[in-house]
């Protein structure tokens, strides 16, 4: 239902589409137990943006993502999400795959939970894109860490174009091939008017569009 100008035909992301904020955070502070992790964090994710959250271990990257998706509350500040963008797709550290389901069943369950298309064909196509189609009927417990990560990430391809993706260390456990597929998917999603927020220890290697860096160490509580 979002009022998106018909930019589909034009490669340019200028104008209203690029400026539509999917998420904006103002003066955000986050607390974990009695420790204040950071405060006064301002940033915005517009359609077409990739935001790379950086920071030292324990600086609150995962906590911030959990606040952004609504699993945890912010200690201070305000957070506005564009309702028209639908629910964010969140892929945390844990892959959320059950050992005793097949890769396809696990993906279908997660898609169904979040109201994404969950038919076998769409899910199989997403698995194919991430190179785990051949293992779709294998139990998750027989998959390697990297293959599990691929199954979890395949869910991204089921999400609508203008959705917001929140990814916690998405490149973890992926091989070169997997990283390339993910980079492609991220860039394509951003170019199609979606938004991405990701954390990564290493440079995600994205260039088109160039990711905006949000450095948590700069707003760390002293």
């Amino acid at each position: 239902m979002s009022a998106i100008p018909s930019a589909l035909g034009t490669p340019s992301l200028d104008g209203a589409l690029a400026r539509r904020a999917l998420l904006s955070a103002r003066e955000l502070a986050c607390r974990r137990g009695d420790r204040l992790l950071f405060s006064g964090l301002d940033f915005e994710v517009c359609a077409g943006d990739i935001v790379w959250l950086r920071g030292a271990n324990g600086s609150g990257k995962t906590s911030l993502l959990r606040v952004l998706v609504g699993l945890a509350g912010a200690a201070e500040g305000r957070l506005d999400r564009d309702g028209a963008a639908g629910h964010a797709v969140y892929i945390g550290h844990a892959n959320a795959l059950k050992d005793d389901l097949t890769a396809l069943e696990a993906l279908q369950f997660l898609a169904r939970l979040q109201g994404l298309p969950a038919d076998a064909d769409a899910c199989a196509a997403a698995l194919r894109r991430f190179g785990v189609h051949g293992r779709r009927h294998a139990m998750v417990r027989t998959l390697s860490q990297g293959q599990r990560r691929r199954v979890a990430l395949a869910r991204l391809l089921l999400a609508p174009a203008q959705s917001l993706w929140m990814l916690d260390e998405p490149f973890d456990a992926l091989d070169t091939d997997g990283c390339a597929t993910l980079r492609e998917a991220l860039a394509a999603h951003a170019r199609g008017g979606g938004g991405v927020v990701l954390t990564s220890h290493l440079d995600p290697g994205l260039h088109d569009p160039e990711p905006a860096v949000v450095q948590l160490d700069e707003v760390a509580a002293r």
Partner: protein
């Protein structure tokens, strides 16, 4: 959409139970072993066994239900599935009801189905067996709802098992008294209707209050 999520969670839990049959059958196995040990312990005096039967069956069902409910949210919490259930825009209320329903289907229904066998073992007559089964049919969903609440409250804590029993056991005592009392009433040639009506009221009460409390506990646990 929430109905779809409810169905998805129940269907997944049933499928997981079917793939882990030994784990899924453990509560009913515990129930069978515990209930059939009593005659060895207290002797084979038929009148004594008949008097003990309702209490023994109910206590064993209660413990079987509580022992198996501990891991209701534990696995989903540890592997991130619970986070995914909560971020999808589904109310935590729906998740709480779905998880309690799947626990009841996996544990409560077999307990109810096995009741006639244990009624016969303890020498109960047909009317008493029917009442016992009916009381468990009303009572096991209460145990699943309250157990789910306890499991959510103790989620992520160390020594959660002990705490769960301390939290939930007192709440289940009314169900135990009413359930066993219904059978005792039948044995004394009285109508069990009052006991069963109160048990039904208790079920409605738990169904109204346990899910929102469970939902709040899940939100706190994942924060």
């Amino acid at each position: 959409m929430s109905r779809g999520v409810f169905g998805a969670i129940v269907a997944r839990d049933l499928r997981l139970a079917a793939r882990r049959r030994v784990d899924a059958l453990l509560p009913i196995g515990f129930f069978a072993v515990a209930a059939s040990m009593f005659p060895f312990g207290v002797g084979s005096e038929p009148n004594l066994l008949r008097q003990l039967a309702p209490g023994v069956v109910w206590v064993c069902a209660l413990l079987a239900s509580l022992l198996s409910v501990q891991q209701l949210y534990g696995g989903d919490f540890a592997d991130g599935s619970l986070d995914q259930m909560l971020v999808g825009g589904t109310s935590a209320w729906t998740i709480a009801v779905a998880k309690a329903a799947s626990h009841w289907l996996v544990t409560g229904v077999p307990l109810v189905a096995a009741t006639p066998l244990f009624g016969l073992l303890f020498g109960l007559d047909a009317a008493a067996i029917a009442t016992l089964a009916l009381s468990l049919l009303l009572g096991t969903p209460i145990l699943a709802l309250l157990g789910g609440l306890g499991a959510a409250l103790t989620l992520g804590l160390r020594s959660a098992g002990m705490l769960l029993i301390l939290v939930v056991l007192p709440l289940t005592v009314p169900a135990l008294i009413l359930g066993a009392g219904a059978v005792v009433a039948v044995e004394s040639s009285l109508s069990p209707r009052a006991h069963l009506s109160l048990l039904g009221a208790l079920l409605i009460f738990s169904a109204l209050l346990a899910p929102p409390a469970t939902a709040a506990a899940l939100r706190i646990a994942t924060e």
